[in-house]
Symmetry: C2
Subunit: 307 residues, 2 copies
């Protein structure tokens, strides 16, 4: 695999999520030169409109005409057909089917590529952290998925399911998963799992979890331990399958910060304490945490335009 | 990654196991042109002696002088240092440390490369089956491990643990594993697991398991079901992490043949019946079985000399 030759013009990257759209411009060397956030509204028309507005506003602020940019890359949840530029079933965005690539391209006159949001975040995280070789990215978001990046290029797999480790069962007596199986890793290590195992945490349990644990809430503690244990299992799984030199924790739950990272490392260390083999694999040392305000998916989307 | 330019001279591949050494010669197009088997005896000196004898005998039978061959590739269990050509801790061969690469090279005057036996078998299986793109190989041997092959080249990972999925726990209440953890996949889907869960099967339970099941032995049935369930879990794990187009079942237990393949496919189909997501991933269709008499590891070792 080889990385495409970077354009000499700056690129734009968009990360479209359920509540906000994050946009960045990237200079040819890969440095972020501008950024903005817009709230998003549900529906095909609104997503297209916000995307156009974000691109035009970024260009205006930079004082660069639209054709001064090389490309726009978009990271978006849902099923992505990269070839046609169509996104299907982006449920959180209220999008059933949208030809976002061609439709936005027609409005702004630039090539537009789409990528899965987790894949884009993986590429962006690896670039922002300056990682080389093989790295993995573990997205603890509403759902759970991983991205694999080899020499800066996302590992796309043969059929579009690479990195979907959230739907591997790890607890046969576990909770039913939205995918139809039981006890999937996603039922332990994700935002949706947290809401379910700790309903007292409300709509955004990740924001209040640590305070509740500090206040002695045993249910909050249980939900956190389950999250940590599932995430550690994912780290071990990624290490023992593709053997990446680094595994970066990202997604919305990265806002749990140091307690999350320390918890995962402690769980890996406990596993290694029973097993010389695992100890030799040095799993805890491979884990990194993506900064809370890092625009990884937008950066990765901009970079993915030529990968 | 790119495949090295194949030499115009034939190559030799050796697969050194606990009871036999299999040797093949491969023409420049990758076809097997000669093969032989020798019994092996334990110990460093015996392994080196058998290797030299195999190479000389193959060359003699082909009527080609030793320097008419390009290289010798060796697949061998244990910890391999490819750079130095040293193998450590090949327990089943009674080898603690042997500089097999340089020592054999000095005796025969050809470059000699070593590779892990599972990696070699993965490369060979993919070549023999004519698979392209990304493929995985699941070795159900005494232990359990996988090999990943991308465009014919083995995925070696960053630190030598790529494919070691046998040491991922999948049953926290499970049996202790030789690695120190509990309930590892290897405690379900391997020859050592079979011996342990069905001691009545004796030293080589795989050879008598199907007959015992046919005769109505419930313990044999249980051991088989556990093997199939663990192997199916491995297939799902490989599919949801690296998304290979094919997953080839190999290793000694492939001698269980169609019942093994059918059992794994049935287990995957049962899982898919509960999950539209899994059904869409078409796991059962990706599984293949390596032929019982296929010299995959010897072929892969010969090919790996330039990969």
């Amino acid at each position: 695999m080889s990385v495409g030759v970077a354009s000499a013009r700056p690129r734009i990257g968009l990360d479209i999520g359920g509540t906000k759209l994050e946009a960045i411009s990237l200079d040819p060397a890969g440095a972020v030169t501008g950024s903005l956030r817009l709230p998003t509204e549900p529906g095909e028309a609104a997503v297209l409109r916000s995307s156009e507005l974000a691109v035009r506003t970024l260009a205006e602020r930079a004082g660069v005409p639209l054709d001064g940019f090389a490309s726009v890359g978009i990271g978006i949840p849902g099923r992505i057909d990269r070839r046609s530029g169509i996104v299907h079933d982006a449920v959180n965005l209220g999008v059933r089917s949208l030809a976002l690539g061609p439709d936005l391209s027609a409005r702004i006159g630039l090539p537009v590529t789409l990528d899965n949001d987790v894949t884009a975040a993986a590429v962006g995280a690896v670039s922002l952290l300056g990682l080389r070789g093989t790295a993995a990215y573990l997205n603890l978001g509403t759902g759970l998925a991983a991205g694999i990046v080899v020499d800066g290029v996302p590992w796309r797999g043969g059929t579009g399911i690479a990195g979907e480790i959230g739907h591997l069962p790890f607890d046969s007596a576990g909770l039913p998963c939205a995918c139809g199986q039981r006890g999937c890793l996603e039922t332990a290590a994700s935002g949706s799992a947290l809401k379910r195992t700790w309903p007292a945490g409300g709509e955004h349990p990740g924001r209040v979890l640590l305070a509740a644990i500090a206040a002695g809430d045993p249910d909050a503690r249980h939900a956190f331990d389950r999250l940590v244990s599932g995430a550690a299992h994912c780290v071990q799984l990624l290490a023992l399958s593709i053997d990446p030199s680094a595994i970066v924790i990202g997604g919305g739950l990265r806002l749990l910060g140091a307690p999350l990272l320390d918890g995962i490392r402690a769980e890996l260390a406990a596993r290694a304490a029973t097993s010389p083999f695992l100890a030799g694999a040095a799993l805890a040392e491979r884990v990194r945490l993506l900064d809370g305000d890092s625009p990884a998916a937008a950066v990765g989307a901009a970079l993915s335009a030529d990968r």
